[in-house]
Symmetry: C2
Subunit: 275 residues, 2 copies
């Protein structure tokens, strides 16, 4: 089953657009977890068990695992999801991007080593650096378009002169390339931050029913109503609404999993209210 | 000692601008190495021992280590260089880029976990995603500007309307931002592919004496004379000329280290001929 079909099936089954980001910072875990042999894995398993019926995918952020040498716990986390909750796909958020021969290695990392169902990719180096990912037709390739961080606009909103003489912002050009040129395998998604609802609306206009990964809800302060209303596609889906820290660190105590569940229910319901 | 000072000292000591890329593909190793317990580390050590007096830095490509779960051998390779050849700095080529809090984790990965001296970074997400790297003032942050792959131009050569009304290509805008706005710690370098000598010349005009990491010599076919003549700064340095596969796979037999040494001597001398 293809990644986008799996996401949509999970969206329908769980009546949700929510994605939980698994960005583990061991120093924020309760002491009881910190003392375990594989604290990241145990933390993630508790979060996953508490939220798997509320979400449409998980998104582990590779940097947090690389920083502390926990690649094994990343692999075990994804394996846990695959075996315990096989209906829930996994996006590896690693924002890779390199020349073709190297990108092929990153695709092996994401799709074969970790068995992720999708991976985030940076578009700056062009189509030949995206194709090694997107050529895995059953997997998803999630391309950075308009990101949620404060400094993004200085690059992504640069005005570009197009061949037809009109001006468009760089993120619009990227969105259009992804829609018209890069999506030969029908498995491209875009990253569009919840902190920019105007841009989100514009990218929806450009890309038809393409699915967006929308980070920036929760800790980064994105507006839920504006995000949902501007982001939905014609099928009432089309956005994967991610929250990481706002859910997984809803409590720093031993009730962290229950608190994560409550925070996920609240955000799922908030999102559904505007669908 | 700061990264750029270390690179320049190695350039002078070894009379070289050459950098060797450590991109290990175990299937290309001779059988005698493939059978070892840590084949990547052993291959790298042989290459390093054969070339350390010919080069100004090493550049391991993270993807090759991630693809096969060899992070431990990447760490041991860098540690080997640090202990055996302390005058030679290491650029971790991982092309990271993410929102600030995540970029900080990638900076920890590069500079603390692996103890690399510099890291490659993608500019698409903006200054707040670069600063977590560049704030390590003694380390180098090497920003993608005009890359060596065939598809790069479709993005990096997009015409951007600047505030002064003039048009510039995206890579020129990135180069100028790096020179004028992002280099507060004087530790920014740029990636400029050897496959684009015209762009290389233009970026030299924009950035004064800034140092470039220039991949694409060797296997990717970059022209040495044009690269050196267009890339040198006013001090007769300013380019770190990288070759990976053209050197480390000069022979697939048991003489691979000797062949790598000969290929490195040849490319070092070719580069020096045009300085």
């Amino acid at each position: 089953m293809r990644f986008l079909d799996r996401v949509q099936a999970a969206m329908e089954k769980n009546n949700t657009l929510l994605c939980v980001g698994l960005d583990p910072s061991p120093e924020r875990f309760p002491a009881s977890i910190q003392g375990m042999e594989k604290p990241i894995l145990e933390f993630n398993k508790a979060i996953i068990d508490a939220t798997a019926d509320l979400i449409c995918c998980y998104k582990p952020q590779a940097a947090y695992y690389h920083a502390c040498g926990a690649e094994d716990q990343l692999a075990m986390t994804i394996d846990y999801i695959r075996t315990q909750y096989p209906a829930i796909p996994v996006i590896l958020d690693s924002k890779r991007g390199d020349i073709g021969s190297t990108a092929s290695q990153y695709a092996i990392e994401a799709f074969e080593r970790y068995q992720a169902d999708a991976v985030t990719v940076n578009p700056y180096m062009g189509i030949d650096t995206v194709e090694p990912f997107s050529s895995y037709a059953d997997k998803g390739t999630v391309i950075l378009c308009r990101t949620s961080n404060p400094g993004a606009a200085a690059i992504q909103n640069l005005p570009v002169q197009q061949a037809n003489g009109e001006s468009a912002m760089l993120y619009e050009v990227i969105a259009r390339m992804c829609q018209e040129q890069w999506n030969g395998h029908n498995n491209i998604l875009l990253v569009v931050g919840a902190t920019n609802p105007t841009e989100l609306k514009r990218i929806r206009e450009i890309t038809g029913d393409m699915t967006f990964l929308v980070p920036g809800l929760g800790a980064q302060g994105g507006d839920v109503e504006a995000t949902v209303k501007n982001g939905l596609n014609s099928e009432g889906r089309g956005i994967i609404a991610n929250s990481s820290r706002g859910i997984i660190y809803a409590s720093g105590g031993d009730d962290f999993a229950e608190a994560a569940r409550n925070a996920a229910i609240e955000l799922r319901d908030q999102v559904n209210r505007y669908r």
